[in-house]
């Protein structure tokens, strides 16, 4: 077992800041914390004794927090030595169920977009931190924050849906049909059977979210947002091997 070794202070220590994506129980009182770090990509670390009420880690290693950590390197599992809260976003999500479920979908997506541990992904780290901050501040509707995060996250992974050109032939322009298997918007010549025909406003919303044009996004109707969420979710599920567990549980209010 990787974490079964004697806690050796000979292991190199390092410092990084990170977003807590997930916590899982380990043994009697420990937890495995999945972290998206600024410089070391996604890592998993053991927090010893964190479930005891007297733990000096306290609530700092709860999900969704932005924390400053001192870690001991390990093969596979790292060990949390010290942690300070930079911004513990959970406190804004605990008494707001729709925000909690939205934050869960963001955290699960971040984990799924980083299949390989310890591969630096600064842009995804910044995107994730920005999404949780916007959610905590209530900067925009939850559903828009989530869909913007999913679209840009897919963009970083190289799966962004084509929105301003045909996904097949590349002809520029806003096309009326949308096909998940084809890769997004498709022109009349390339449109495969079974392509969807979303409202033009929906494609505009997706473009606005992908490029960060919040002025347009904030002004959209609920029906447009719902259609957008459906297409974004379908596009994401197509590219992930298995669907997100949290997405069907998101309370879109």
């Amino acid at each position: 077992m990787q974490n079964g070794s004697v806690p050796g202070y000979s292991k190199p220590l390092y410092r990084d800041d990170a977003v807590v994506l997930r916590v899982q129980k380990l043994g009697e009182s420990d937890r495995i914390i999945t972290l998206l770090t600024r410089r070391h990509g996604r890592i998993r670390a053991v927090a010893r004794g964190v479930r005891r009420t007297t733990s000096r880690f306290g609530g700092r290693l709860e999900p969704f927090g932005h924390v400053d950590l001192q870690l001991a390197e390990g093969t596979g599992l790292h060990t949390v030595r010290q942690v300070e809260g930079i911004e513990l976003y959970a406190k804004r999500f605990l008494d707001d169920y729709p925000r909690y479920t939205t934050a869960s979908a963001i955290a699960e997506t971040a984990e799924r977009l980083t299949p390989v541990e310890s591969e630096p992904t600064l842009r995804l780290f910044l995107l994730t931190l920005g999404a949780l901050r916007a959610l905590a501040e209530g900067a925009h509707a939850n559903t828009l924050i989530l869909d913007a995060y999913l679209l840009r996250g897919m963009g970083l992974a190289g799966w962004a849906p084509a929105l301003a050109e045909c996904a097949v032939c590349g002809t520029a322009g806003r096309h009326g049909a949308f096909s998940v298997p084809a890769g997004g918007s498709v022109c009349p010549d390339c449109r495969p059977p079974g392509a969807a025909h979303p409202a033009p406003a929906t494609i505009d919303l997706m473009s606005a979210l992908a490029t960060g044009n919040w002025r347009i996004a904030d002004g959209t109707e609920n029906a447009t947002r719902r259609e957008c969420s459906g297409l974004v979710a379908a596009h994401l599920q197509w590219h992930l091997e298995r669907g997100l567990r949290s997405l069907p549980l998101v309370d879109r209010g």
């Binding site: 609530g59 513990l88 406190k91 605990l94 955290a107 699960e108």
Partner: protein, 197 residues
């Protein structure tokens, strides 16, 4: 790898929560060298727990009959209901001797990352119980972590329109700790829950 029966035992023990391969091996060899009567008692206890123990039809706590000991106790109040995640939380609260109402065991907490939503817990059963109209106060005693808090928030949202008083266990500073080590969420909660002295 050992031969036959001892390896089978190590493998079975190793599947238990919190038992790693080294612990499994240590426990297996302890059993091997233990008094045969002790081992028989352990084996009987294991078999009986699966044969006799089931879940209470009312509160979903572990029980040895249709209803658990607490639901059958006529001296306890039907007007106060305490919601917990697991049967072990019932035991923890009973140890305080502070609570004389009834319980409702959810069977976990809402955790979207693990695919656990409200429909996977005994929340619908809770709503049916509350719909009977006897309960005046609902105490939400889910774990003071993110999943437990979110579960309490969800239940409070569902119950508020029913006109039942909903309370949450106070969370704050652990007895025996130093104030300076408290994180901002815990300290913030402790301020919210302060009381006159």
């Amino acid at each position: 790898m050992y031969e036959g029966a001892i390896q089978d035992l190590i493998d079975e023990l190793g599947r238990l929560p919190g038992v790693g391969p080294k612990s499994a091996q240590r426990i297996a060899f302890h059993i091997l060298s233990a008094d045969p009567a002790d081992v028989t008692r352990l084996a009987t206890a294991l078999r009986k727990v699966k044969e006799l123990v089931r879940f209470c039809a009312i509160c979903h706590n572990v029980a040895e009959s249709e209803q658990c000991r607490i639901c059958r106790d006529p001296r306890r109040s039907d007007e106060v209901l305490c919601v917990v995640e697991e049967p072990k939380d019932v035991v923890a609260i009973e140890r305080t001797g502070e609570f004389r109402g009834r319980y409702h065991v959810l069977g976990g907490a809402i955790n979207p990352l693990e695919g656990v939503g409200p429909d996977n817990l005994r929340i619908r059963e809770l709503m049916i119980r509350l719909g009977e109209g006897t309960v005046k106060e609902l105490i939400l005693a889910t774990d003071p972590n993110t999943e437990g808090e979110a579960t309490a928030t969800y239940i409070a949202l569902m119950v508020k329109p029913m006109g039942i008083s909903v309370t949450r266990l106070a969370s704050g500073l652990p007895v025996g700790g130093d104030l300076e080590y408290a994180d901002e969420i815990t300290l913030g909660r402790a301020f919210e829950g302060r009381r006159a002295v």
